[in-house]
Structures are given as structure tokens and as C-alpha cells.
């Protein structure tokens, strides 16, 4: 076990079962990424990288055997309880920028899939996150390029992790409205972070946010999904985001 874990400090060299980050067409369509030093969690040297060689698990995507794919509508509710559709954003978000960031394939074109994580703290996107707890820093949560495998120095996080582990789950829901996985992920994360259904201090190192999303087809049938976002110790780093069937996922003290 020691040898196996220590090996993570050197290099991870596996072949991912999931192709990621090969699209370049959308790369110039979105806002330029900023390269910064992360202000979240303990920053320590890290020489890891690479993919984990595991297939993406069958997770909380859309229910099977759904009709009228592409004709569904996806909604959530704003702070006033009004339904808002996919693409509609909280007032403070800036629709022009978001429309570009949400363009099809844009999220596949960010950060790449190479084994180097020298750029793991490059910021792909920032989200308005009200400061609601003493441990939180600033008023933004940040989607970093991140990494898709944990090492002793830090857990997996950010876009690379979400794309590797949860892309297909977002995609299976997004396609119901004829949208791209990144389109739905970005829109839902924006709402979850800025106006969550509820949020908790999960432990000394994590915040948990979740919010309900509803899926309606033209014949009137519906189903729900939660979208969960986990933030790091200071509420800045987006560790992960995924759809969930669990209405009680976020545990801990509500804030």
C-alpha cells in the first residue's frame, strides 16, 4: 500500500476510458481563463496527473426509456419561487458572458486532458457565491481546471474531475432539452451556488450545496433531480458537482 500510494507522487499513467477535452472549436468562444493562485484549502506541491483508468460509473442521469428526447424543458426556481428555464440566469450573472461560456462544447475545450496538472489552479469560471459563513473567503466560487485523481496532497477537484466522473450524468439530462452537458452543468451550478435550495457546513473542510431541478416533457410527465455542488474549506474551490436523486444529500449544519 505504501508503495502504491507513494507512486502517486511520481506520476500516474493510465488510460482513461472516457475521452475528454478534445474539442477546440469552442475554446475561443468563451471568456479567457485567468491564471491565479487558489485561495482555498492548503496549497502544497503536487506532481501528479493523469487519468484513473476507470470507466465512468452509471450515476444519476436521466431515467431510462424517456420519450420526446430533445423536447423536454428543464427548470428550477429563483429566490421568489418563479420557474426559470435553462439559459435563464440570476440577474447578477451577466447573460452575455454566460451565453458564451455555455456554448456547446466550450467546456470540453477547456484545460485539456493531458496528464500535467501544472495548470490545475487556472480559473475556468467564477460563480457568485454569497459569503454566508465565517470560513468563507470572498464572494466567488471558482471552477479551476483541477485534477481527476487524488493524491496525498489534495483530493480530486474542479473541471477535470467533473468531466471525468460526471459528464455523462449531466449529458443524459441535458440532451432531454437538446443541450450540451457543459451547458446544463454550468447553468445548474450557477443557480445551485447563488441560490441554493439549501447549503450546509458538511465538515471542517467542505461546504455542500444542493438545489432541485425539474424536467417536464410535452405530454406533461415530469421528474426531479438535485444538483449537488461541493466547495472547499474557504468556499472558493469547486471540488465537484453532480446530479443526484438524493433529496437529502447535503448533511451537516445548515447555513
Amino acid at each position: 500500500m505504501n508503495q502504491r500510494i507513494t507512486a502517486f507522487f511520481v506520476v500516474i499513467c493510465c488510460v482513461s476510458a472516457l475521452a475528454v477535452g478534445t474539442t477546440t472549436a469552442g475554446a475561443s468562444a468563451g471568456p479567457a481563463r485567468e491564471s491565479v493562485t487558489a485561495a482555498d484549502d492548503v496549497l502544497v506541491p503536487d506532481a501528479d496527473g493523469g487519468n484513473d483508468g476507470f470507466s465512468e460509473p452509471a450515476g444519476a442521469g436521466a431515467p431510462s426509456n424517456l420519450a420526446s428526447v430533445g423536447q423536454w424543458s428543464i427548470t428550477t426556481t429563483d429566490a421568489n419561487g418563479h420557474a426559470v428555464g435553462l439559459g435563464q440566469l440570476p440577474d447578477e450573472s451577466g447573460t452575455a458572458q454566460t451565453a458564451m461560456a455555455a456554448a456547446s462544447s466550450w467546456w470540453d475545450g477547456q484545460c485539456g486532458s493531458n496528464s500535467s496538472t501544472a495548470d490545475k489552479f487556472d480559473v475556468v469560471k467564477q460563480y457568485n457565491r454569497p459569503k454566508v459563513h465565517s470560513r468563507m473567503s470572498g464572494s466567488k466560487a471558482k471552477m479551476y481546471c483541477g485534477k481527476n485523481v487524488s493524491t496525498q496532497s489534495e483530493a480530486q477537484f474542479g473541471l477535470r474531475h467533473i468531466r471525468t466522473s460526471h459528464k455523462s450524468q449531466f449529458a443524459s439530462l441535458a440532451v432531454l432539452e437538446g443541450r450540451d452537458w457543459g451547458n446544463f452543468m454550468h447553468w445548474s451550478v450557477t443557480w445551485v451556488i447563488s441560490q441554493p435550495g439549501w447549503r450546509t457546513v458538511q465538515n471542517a473542510d467542505r461546504y455542500c450545496y444542493q438545489k432541485l431541478f425539474q424536467f417536464h416533457n410535452p405530454s406533461g410527465s415530469t421528474f426531479d433531480r438535485q444538483v449537488v455542488v461541493i466547495l472547499g474549506r474557504t468556499g472558493v474551490r469547486i471540488m465537484t458537482a453532480f446530479p443526484s436523486t438524493n433529496a437529502d444529500y447535503c448533511q451537516g449544519t445548515r447555513i
Partner: protein, 117 residues
């Protein structure tokens, strides 16, 4: 060469096991199984099973904490267990839709190794 830092003192395998059990227990009923620990949740409709033994957990934690100490880092534990273990469990369990999923360690992370649909 500077002297190696002292190895941090770790809780017993039993204490670590109870920590893991308590962590999983946030979401439902936890029982031991031949493979490890089974979490039943979602109104008893879904099961998430972690394939891990007490000795494996103790070895995993010791290796993790020891490697961090060698690099001058703190123990990196959250809720008394390695953060990658807790985070990766949440990732697998939180997005689980199948009635049953089995998780096992791959490096520092838990991954879904089997699920029913």
C-alpha cells in the same frame, strides 16, 4: 540529510472503522457485510457497499498520513479520515442512481466497481 519526521500516531483500526461507519451513517442505515460496510438509503430502496476491511482501512490511513508527514504536511484528515476517501465516497454515492453500487479503492479514491441498473 535531515532526519525524517516522526511518524504520526494513528488511531486503532477499530476506531477508524467506527469513524467510517459514522460517516456513512449520515445518510442511512449502515451494516457490516462480508465485503465491508453496506449503506442502505433512500427509503431502503438503494444500497451503497464499500468494499474494505478494517486492516485495509488502517493500512490506507497509515500510508496516507505517513506519506503526508514525509512531505512535511499535516495529517490531512477530515472527520478523522483522509479527505480523498470522504470526497470520493460522496462523489460515487451522491450521484448513484442504480439500486446497488459497490465501491472499492483505486489509489486514494473510491470508485464504482459494480452496479445494478
Amino acid at each position: 540529510m535531515p532526519p525524517a519526521p516522526p511518524s504520526p500516531e494513528l488511531p486503532s483500526a477499530e476506531i477508524l472503522w467506527e469513524r467510517l461507519r459514522a460517516f456513512l451513517g449520515q445518510w442511512g442505515e449502515v451494516h457490516e457485510s462480508p465485503r465491508g460496510l453496506r449503506l442502505t438509503w433512500g427509503g431502503a430502496r438503494q444500497v451503497t457497499e464499500v468494499e474494505l476491511s478494517r486492516p485495509q482501512l488502517a493500512e490506507y490511513v497509515a500510508a496516507y498520513v505517513g506519506a503526508r508527514a514525509e512531505h512535511g504536511l499535516d495529517d490531512g484528515l477530515g472527520n478523522g479520515l483522509p479527505l480523498p476517501l470522504l470526497d470520493s465516497f460522496g462523489d460515487c454515492f451522491g450521484s448513484q442512481e442504480a439500486p446497488y453500487a459497490r465501491l472499492a479503492l483505486a489509489g486514494l479514491d473510491l470508485r464504482v466497481v459494480s452496479s445494478t441498473s
